[in-house]
């Protein structure tokens, strides 16, 4: 019997066209994803090959997730179709067994589903064999690459989702349940992904994900590029557990389904039928007289009709079960995401309104689904329920039907947004934050969000009217979105072509909506006119009555072209064209517009034309004297002043190469020298000019360069050319906005794949460590060594303007404020200019003035910053060298960028990282405000006192040394647990960072601008180093390094110079550490295999630990080779302290010389757990298995 039903199911499905369509769609999506850029699903990065097992695996896993939709379509109807086609009565009266019926249907459908899903591996396989692919980006063909992920991910996923949909279809007997089920699965999925962000729950997230994608990424997260190219996806570890778990859930669902499914056709209702009240009054229809009611057809009647219909459709949408399900899912998701707001190191931010708005933007996807789904549903509503002929014969104007549906949707959005605002405020309240800024909520959601919804709703209604087929309408709407995203790739990058373009940008408490409002408004006018035009056309063509053919609809539609409608359409066209022209005038005429090809072409030409000048001998700046007038309200400034340029070479120099900043806003109005000179060559496209002095400048001689440049904002630009550096409140730019000397290597294309496409040679990221050209220039470039600095700043009256140096005087003149700053000693050629409306907090450390310039309302963490500055100054002056300045100033700048940066005694600090951080529990939360402050203050030593050479490894000197310095300040302030937690984050970020390396991983001493190395790995390395050789020794090395190089001009020190000092303080027995930590990429695989203890007496316990230790060395792609181990590694035993927390009973370094080890340790209190390297001082990819709980043994 089972066999018959099973075979019948296969036969039945074979004849269904839908299954072939599903197959074709998935096949095409996958095939296009690997052979073209049209479809993008995951993909390879940097050195990872395009058909590496992990890449194919990821794509199959992601597409397998979308297979859920098909799974619901195929599995859901397996039993349901008997109810829908009313064949259940016939079927259930035959003598088939329930088990055979259900299993036959299930397995039959499941096999069909798997055949459809086989489209994924087949498409990827054929795609990779496609002759157009670039052979050097592919690995040799391997069948397992395609089919292993299919069996690991797709087969179990289809089983699990299939079981759910099968059961829900069979039990509910309603197709609507299947749709909502799909959405709930989506939520569960997104829910696990937001849980994953918090590090400690990665294992749980890996298990929770029913699709196994999380388990997969968890398992492979630290795979290096080399491993990504060579390892197949294993059915192992969390991937295996995850698969078993969810297959098990699927089986349980099938069992439940078996017992819950009833063969009865009529089910006993859950609810008791309501007793029908008999009307006391007997009505006699014959005697009823139909009263006369007056019929109107005037404007007020039509308005009444419009209002009534609008409300009617609004209510209708709100009654839809899938709609409610989507909304609830979206809100649930918001609350889940609200648990960890804006995290950094696991520490949350204050729930300021813009943070909440970021959170609420997570709902946009749901909004889009609602807009597309329900605008279509409403257009089709009457026809779907077959009421259209009655409604269409009603005497109302033609436009009312469509407009009321639009307005109904609009009302839905307005109400949903109000709901979101309430939800946002609830989140704020739950965090104990009561500064509700309703204006910002309304200002963002009822403008940007609502505009996007209006545009998409009108567009989607237009599509549905014109296509005049519900399902095709949805398909065309989706196809349109894909098409539009494809516009950019065929060169239509201009926002005038990007449907719905124009954004309000980032909201900042400091700059509010800033200058984004004007372009945003114009783009909205433009697009709104566009959709109104479409809507007008839709009114003409909308089907009223039974005509479907377009020519007939046009025949009927012509009659609708009333004066008003024609006026509307003409106006829409006029507004669309004129706003389009106005935008074009602003972006392309007043400002210069470039597309990606244009920008890249410029980069390529720049390199090809001017690269030859990169290393020619140039003068160096020795004095900077500026007068900068800032006009924040106009977003302009003018900078006038001079540089003194000195010939520090041994040859006379006559050519002076000047590179102006490439930004279009910046124009050089004047540039001259105080000696006789001429222009030798001018490259206007590159804003590059070669001046020639009439008389060459002799070695040691100087020349004064007078210049005036201005930054002028005219109109508005498209996003690519937009700048957030000169703004209404919170202007922040640095000396790169001024003319600079010589070729600027930063303007080149950096990505090797892009370069290859443009036929440029591969590019080294930095110069070799012994390159004399590199040694002669500091990390701040080759324009200068140290400079004398003086500046007069002026700005609007309500702002403060700040630059490095000591305030000499400030005054007001002609309604403007002036500030004169001067540095009393030479500083590095790196300075910032800042202007904003500030509050100031002042304090003193010894005789150093401490100042924080902050935005009113952002007082939360000022004390932590002050404390950070003081503790940092204390530690660094004590251990390294005296502080060279008499002030430290922190100034807040808007959150368009999120970093802090150290200029001489001046530290701009983003609004987005420290000022609104919320450190609740000092025992648990990492106080990154304090930490970042300490790091930036450390740069006053490492970077400003000692400038390093601009060669490989340079960041180890400024960034890594600052990491270490700040970490030591942290170590003396907080508990070891916090430090351990911090290091765990650093370990995770280092391992993830190297997994995503695009070119090659460098050892620390040769780091080339790789943040995951010079920040994250350096934290780990230096912390371990001071643990091995003592903090004092490391500090001594730093101190000597500082003494040797402090305030020196070229040649500059390199990482080798620091390592020389570190070697001196490292005992012979530990010299190997320097090779492991700095010169190579060394990893450990430490694991406690088993551990137990024996109670010898009341306060004597013997702990036995069996631990394995491996030492590995990785090459630049991450391929590892084991090497002999001969290392000192911690072994530790934990007990519990009085507070019930883990505390170390024993921690000591043991010399380890082999893989398998046994340790016997005597402790005096009851031990709880023990292990090898329990504090994670060494870099270990599986840090969770280092310790194990102890069992008692007799």
């Amino acid at each position: 019997m089972f066999k018959n039903i099973f075979l019948f199911e296969l036969k039945y499905r074979k004849a269904r066209a839908a299954n072939y369509i599903y197959f074709a769609i998935m096949f095409l999506l996958c095939f296009l994803a690997v052979t073209t850029d049209v479809v993008q699903i995951g993909g390879a990065v940097g050195q990872v090959k395009e058909n590496a097992p992990i890449v194919i695996g990821q794509m199959i896993a992601i597409m397998g997730f979308f297979m859920t939709l098909i799974s619901s379509a195929i599995m859901g109807v397996a039993v349901l179709r008997d109810f829908e086609h009313n064949t259940e009565a016939i079927l259930f009266s035959t003598p088939i067994k329930k088990f055979h019926y259900l299993m036959g249907r299930f397995w039959g459908s499941y096999v069909v589903l798997l055949l459809v899903a086989a489209s994924l591996p087949i498409a990827f396989m054929l795609g990779d064999l496609w002759p157009m692919r670039e052979a050097d980006r592919l690995l040799p063909f391997n069948l397992a690459t395609y089919w292993q992920p299919y069996f690991i991910f797709v087969v179990p996923n289809m089983f699990f989702t299939g079981a759910i949909f099968f059961a829900s279809g069979a039990l509910s007997r309603k197709s609507i349940v299947i749709y909502t089920q799909g959405i709930l699965l989506l939520v569960l999925y997104i829910g696990t992904s937001s849980l994953l962000r918090d590090l400690e729950q990665k294992e749980i997230a890996a298990l929770c994900d029913p699709f196994g994608v999380r388990a997969f990424s968890f398992y492979t997260q630290y795979w290096t590029p080399g491993e990504r190219n060579s390892l197949q996806i294993p059915l192992d570890g969390y991937i295996l557990y995850n698969r078993l778990l969810w297959m098990g859930v699927g089986i349980v669902i099938l069992i439940i389904n078996h017992f819950a499914f009833s063969f009865n056709v009529v089910r006993s209702s859950v609810f008791r039928p309501r007793a029908v009240k008999d009307e006391a009054l007997r009505i006699k229809p014959e005697e009823t007289k139909i009263p006369v009611a007056q019929q109107f057809a005037n404007l007020s009647t039509h308005i009444g009709q419009l209002v009534k219909l609008t409300l009617f459709y609004f209510k209708m949408v709100f009654k839809e079960i899938p709609f409610i399900a989507i909304v609830i899912s979206g809100i649930l998701l918001l609350f889940v995401n609200a648990i960890n707001l804006n995290e950094l190191f696991g520490t949350s931010s204050y729930p300021t309104t813009y943070t909440i708005l970021g959170l609420l933007s997570g709902f946009n996807l749901f909004f889009l689904i609602i807009a597309v789904l329900y605008s279509g549903e409403l257009v089709w509503k009457e026809r779907a329920v077959n009421l259209n002929l009655i409604i269409d014969a009603m005497p109302m104007p033609d436009f009312i039907a469509l407009i009321s549906k639009f307005l109904g949707m609009l009302l839905v959005y307005i109400v949903l947004i109000a709901g979101l605002i309430v939800a946002g405020m609830l989140v704020q309240i739950s965090y104990g934050y009561y500064n509700f800024e309703l204006g910002i909520y309304i200002g963002t959601l009822y403008t940007e969000t609502l505009a996007f919804l209006v545009l998409y709703t009108m567009l989607s209604m237009f599509i549905h009217v014109m296509v005049n087929n519900k399902f095709l309408g949805f398909a065309v709407a989706v196809a349109f979105f894909i098409l539009v995203s494809f516009f950019g790739q065929i060169g239509l990058e201009h926002p005038l072509f990007q449907f719905g373009s124009g954004s309000l940008g980032t909201y900042s408490d400091m700059n509010v909506y800033g200058h984004f409002v004007t372009p945003f408004s114009w783009f909205q006018v433009y697009w709104f006119a566009f959709v109104v035009l479409l809507f007008g056309i839709a009114v003409v063509f909308s089907s009223r009555g039974s005509e479907d053919v377009i020519s007939m609809r046009w025949k009927a539609g012509k009659l609708r072209l009333s004066k008003q409608l024609v006026t509307l359409i003409v106006c829409a066209v006029a507004v669309f064209l004129s706003s389009g022209f106005y935008i074009y005038y602003n972006t392309n005429v007043v400002n210069r517009y470039t597309n990606k090809d244009g920008r890249e072409g410029l980069q390529v030409d720049y390199e090809k034309t001017l690269k030859k000048y990169e290393f020619i001998a140039q003068l160096r700046i020795t004095d900077v004297n500026l007068k900068v007038d800032l006009y924040p309200s106009k977003r302009d400034y003018s900078a006038e002043g001079y540089f003194i340029l000195k010939n520090k070479t041994n040859e006379p120099i006559s050519d002076i190469h000047i590179q102006e900043n490439a930004l279009n806003y910046i124009k050089t109005e004047k540039l001259e020298f105080n000696r006789k000179f001429g222009v030798k060559e001018k490259f206007d496209r590159f804003k590059y000019t070669i001046y020639q002095l009439a008389e060459p400048l002799q070695p040691g001689d100087s020349v004064q360069m007078n210049f005036k440049t201005s930054f002028v904002t005219n109109g508005f630009t498209d996003n690519n050319a937009s700048t957030t550096s000169v703004i209404y409140n919170g202007t922040f730019f640095n000396n790169t906005y001024l003319p600079s000397l010589g070729y600027n290597e930063n303007y080149e294309m950096s990505d090797d794949n892009d370069r290859k496409e443009k036929k440029l040679p591969e590019k080294e990221r930095m110069m070799e460590r012994n390159d004399p050209r590199g040694l002669s220039q500091s990390l701040f470039g080759d324009d200068a060594d140290h400079v004398r600095f003086e500046i007069v700043l002026s700005t609007d009256k309500d702002q403060l303007a700040i630059a490095p140096g000591y305030l000499q005087k400030s005054w007001e003149e002609k309604d403007r404020k002036y500030f004169q700053y001067k540095m009393d000693a030479p500083m590095c050629n790196f300075f910032s200019i800042i202007s904003a409306r500030y509050e100031v907090k002042r304090d003193k450390w010894n005789d150093v003035n401490l100042e924080i310039y902050y935005h009113k309302g952002h007082e939360y963490n000022l004390d932590k910053m002050m404390e950070g500055m003081k503790d940092a100054l204390n530690y660094y002056t004590k251990h390294f060298s005296p502080y060279q300045y008499r002030q430290v100033r922190i100034m807040e700048f808007p959150r368009y960028a999120t970093f802090a940066q150290s200029f001489a005694n001046t530290i701009p600090f983003s609004e987005g990282i420290g000022f609104i951080a919320k450190i609740d529990d000092p025992d648990k939360d990492i106080d990154y405000v304090y930490y970042v402050t300490a790091h930036e203050v450390a740069h006053q030593w490492w970077g400003h006192q000692v400038m390093e050479a601009g060669v490989k490894g340079n960041a180890m000197l400024s960034e890594s040394m600052s990491q270490y310095s700040a970490l030591m300040v942290l170590k003396h302030k907080f508990t070891p647990e916090i430090i351990e937690r911090y290091l765990k984050y650093e370990l995770d970020r280092y391992l993830s960072g190297r997994a995503g390396e695009r070119k090659k991983e460098q050892p620390l001493e040769l780091v080339e601008g790789q943040g995951y190395i010079h920040y994250q790995k350096a934290s780990l390395i230096f912390f371990a180093l001071q643990d091995y050789i003592s903090e004092d020794s490391v500090n001594a090395a730093f101190r000597r390094f500082n003494q040797t190089w402090r305030f020196k001009d070229a040649p500059y020190p390199t990482s080798a110079d620091l390592l020389k000092e570190i070697r001196k303080v490292t005992p012979d027995s530990l010299q190997y550490l320097i090779k492991d930590m700095f010169e190579t990429i060394t990893l450990f695989e430490n694991k406690t295999d088993s551990a137990f203890y024996k109670e010898k007496s009341k306060n004597e316990f013997e702990v036995t630990v069996y631990a394995s230790a491996e030492k590995l060395r990785a090459d630049s792609t991450g391929i590892e080779t084991p090497i002999a181990i001969n290392d000192w590694i911690d072994v530790g035993v934990y007990g519990k302290n009085k507070a019930g927390k883990d505390s170390l009973l024993y921690l000591k370094k043991h010399k380890i010389t082999q893989k398998q080890n046994q340790f016997k340790i005597l402790v005096k209190a009851k031990p709880r757990k023990a292990g090898i390297d329990p504090l994670h001082k060494l870099i270990d990819r599986h840090s969770n298995d280092n310790t194990k709980g102890l069992v008692a043994k007799r």
């Binding site: 008999d278 009307e279 009505i283 229809p285 014959e286 009823t288 007289k289 139909i290 009263p291 006369v292 009611a293 007056q294 019929q295 109107f296 057809a297 007020s300 009647t301 009444g304 009709q305 009534k308 219909l309 009617f312 209708m316 009654k319 509503k381 329920v385 077959n386 009421l387 002929l389 009655i390 409604i391 269409d392 014969a393 009603m394 005497p395 109302m396 104007p397 009223r544 009555g545 039974s546 005509e547 053919v549 007939m552 025949k555 009927a556 009659l559």
Partner: protein
């Protein structure tokens, strides 16, 4: 007021010619449109109800050009399509009120009275607060009738209105229609001959898009009076009779076939002359040989 249809033709995009040069003049009172399924009744009615375009021809209602002044027609139109649905999650009062608003009854009080009266009239009052999704076929049909009567329409078009009604409801509805038909144009399409005979002052028979007959039912009956012969035969004989005679109808009485034949004289022994009724006319036009006479 008179509804004048002239030379109306319509061919669908799939090639089916739904209306072929249809011309009719319809006066106040009940007008019956008889024809088998697929004859073009609904196409004609939809065209009059402004819901479908014609390829050629014209329709005028008094001074109104129906094909272009749709808005004017809709103001005085009550239309019940052959098949229709309802919003399932809404009750009868709400939807009827909703439709009354669309009809232009803007006074709230008047609308309430009207809706209540219509629900009484169609015997839906007891079910007025029930969701329409739970209505039986007959109840739904009655609801359709109720909505067609909103705002005293001058032109009522009802397409197969009695389908799905039980005999009592059918009677009540037909009475209601004839009551209204006294000063209104009511066009009733049906394939049930009885409906037309009982109610209509005028009628037309159409098949395959063509008008086969127009006139009053009584005239139609008179045309065949005395020419209808019937005979009770055996089942086995049926085939040979079919070949030898132009049978206009076959029915079973007591399990034996009774055939009718149109003829001036007794066609054969055993045939008896029968009083003609409208059904004979109908079948005559649909299957019979008098087509040419009538069309001419």
């Amino acid at each position: 007021m008179q509804l004048i249809i002239q030379n109306l033709s319509k061919t669908y995009s799939n090639g089916v010619q739904a209306l072929k040069d249809v011309s009719l003049t319809i006066n106040k009172g009940m007008f019956g449109l008889l024809g088998p399924n697929g004859a073009g009744k609904s196409s004609l009615m939809r065209t009059i109800a402004t819901l479908q375009e014609a390829d050629s021809g014209s329709i005028s209602l008094g001074n109104i050009d129906v094909l272009t002044q749709k808005e004017e027609v809709r103001k005085i139109l009550g239309y019940l399509p052959q098949e229709f649905g309802v919003y399932p999650k809404i009750d009868a009062v709400t939807l009827l009120d909703h439709l009354a608003v669309l009809k232009g009854i803007s006074n709230k009080g008047e609308r309430k009275g009207l809706v209540e009266a219509l629900l009484h009239k169609t015997n839906l009052w007891n079910a007025r607060n029930k969701n329409l999704g739970g209505y039986s076929g007959g109840m739904k049909q009655r609801f359709g009738i109720a909505q067609a009567l909103i705002a005293n329409p001058k032109l009522i078009i009802v397409d197969e209105p009695t389908a799905g009604l039980d005999p009592a409801e059918r009677n009540r509805f037909l009475n209601l229609l004839s009551e209204i038909g006294e000063n209104t144009i009511v066009i009733l399409s049906t394939h049930i001959v009885e409906d037309v005979k009982e109610l209509c002052t005028d009628m037309a028979i159409i098949n395959k898009g063509q008008v086969l007959y127009k006139g009053s039912p009584l005239d139609a009956i008179a045309e065949v009076e005395g020419k209808v012969w019937t005979k009770t035969i055996e089942k086995a004989e049926l085939e040979s009779y079919r070949q030898n005679f132009r049978i206009i109808s076959e029915r079973l009485i007591g399990g034996r076939p009774v055939i009718s034949v149109l003829s001036h004289e007794q066609p054969e022994g055993g045939f008896t002359r029968t009083a003609a009724d409208l059904e004979d006319v109908y079948f005559t036009h649909i299957f019979g040989n008098t087509q040419k006479e009538v069309a001419a």
